[in-house]
Amino acid sequence: MARFSPPQAYWHIRQRKRRARPFWVAAEAVGFYDFTNAIYSSGSVSVANASGGLVDDLAGNWSFAPPNTLRRSNKGLLIEPSRTNSIRNSTMQGAAAPSTDPTNWSNLTGTANGITGSVVGTGTEGALAYVDVRFQGTAVASAGRIIRFEPTTQIVAALGETWTVSSFWSLVAGSPGSSSVRAYVQEANAAGTTLANQQGGALLLTVGPLGARRCAVTRTLSNGSVARVAPSANLVFTAGETYDYTVRIGVPQAEIGAAASSPIPTTASAATRSADSVIVVLPAGTGSIRYTFDDDTTQTVSAAAGSYLIPIPARPSVRYLQALP
């Protein structure tokens, strides 16, 4: 690898963006695409995406990209397959202080296990809708509070499907003590009776951008009687501990896939985000392309010169693309 001699325009822009990360290009590269700065060595970059979608930046802020536009930020270019958020109300429609759950949700407010949940308010942080909820009281048992985003009878599912359930959580006020939250997914039969469940790793409740704090769990449905999947979050309390804190909950999502994708806001119905079909014009001499992702890992796939549809990559956020011989 050797440092690429950038064209003059590239050099000027890099001078203005002193904080931008250096972009190292292989000496043999015949072209490059710096999506963090929207600088391309040749040709154009275009996208087909009928729905548009959300894109996050390095700070965890989410914004909306209109249909047929690149979902690009300082984190890179987001390239995802089509996904459906099966949670009908991920924007907390119907929530009201102090004790009205969002439509279709349950167990967010009211008293359980000695802890009372109260809606404080709703709003948006960037493109993420949220509800602020205060939890206070002394836990009478070490147990979780299952906050349902849909009834267990709602989302139709089938044996062998892989589902990912996720939601965003941040601390607004108070101290959560030992409390934490885990994404929670259940397999159920058509009547909504639970057959199996699984929860993800604990997400500590901390102050900061909501969009950078997401809990998730992935499960491949394995019970022969499964007909529904139930997405929830499990807010955990410790017996005898007294709590008084307020959390911000944003855009829960239940989707078929092995990892959480960008959030899909919904209001009254499940919604599908279109795939990103990104097309670049690769220069003559191209034999492969190398992705550099937001975590600095790379992936190389074969490609040819001319208009080229970029395959869905191993990671969704692509920082750079190099065209190689």
Binding site: A48, S86, N107, S269, T272, I279, Y308
Partner: protein, 145 residues
């Protein structure tokens, strides 16, 4: 952008009717079915359509004890394909499978005639809910048209 809904007896019929369908974009042609059973997710997906029966169903969560009442749904026994296109396609609108054609910008601008052509009556559109919807669209199908 133009949103088009087509309907078929089953998925095989949809794949057969649209076997050669594609859109060209950025110098590349995107086939509707890149491989059998896999629809082109950049401009198409396969929703379901339901109507409300007028009954109410009650669910009691065995774990949380919560009770939720919801209108009962009846899903229509068709296979639907939703396409989003840059402009109207007379060929699609002439097919027996044509359901409706809606202009997204016209709807967002408040134009009352945003449904440019329909194989359904206004009453049917007003009673039929599409699920899932395409993210970003807010057509009032199922509520009032």
């Amino acid at each position: 952008m133009i949103d088009v809904l087509l309907f078929y007896p089953d998925r095989d019929a949809a794949m057969a009717d649209l076997s050669d369908y594609a859109i060209s974009y950025g110098g590349v042609t995107l086939p509707l079915w890149p491989e059998p059973g896999v629809i082109q997710g950049a401009f198409a997906f396969e929703p379901r359509v339901y109507v409300l029966t007028g009954n109410v169903v009650t669910h009691t969560d065995e774990e949380t004890g919560a009770t939720i009442e919801e209108p009962e749904r009846s899903y229509l026994a068709w296979h639907y394909v939703w396409l989003t296109l840059p402009e109207r396609d007379p060929d699609l609108e002439a097919r027996a499978s044509f359901g409706l054609c809606a202009d997204r910008q016209a709807f967002e601008a408040g134009e009352p005639d945003f449904v440019r052509a329909a194989g359904f009556t206004p009453e049917q559109l007003g009673a039929s809910y599409i699920e899932p919807i395409l993210f970003g669209t807010r057509y009032p199908f199922g509520t009032s048209v």
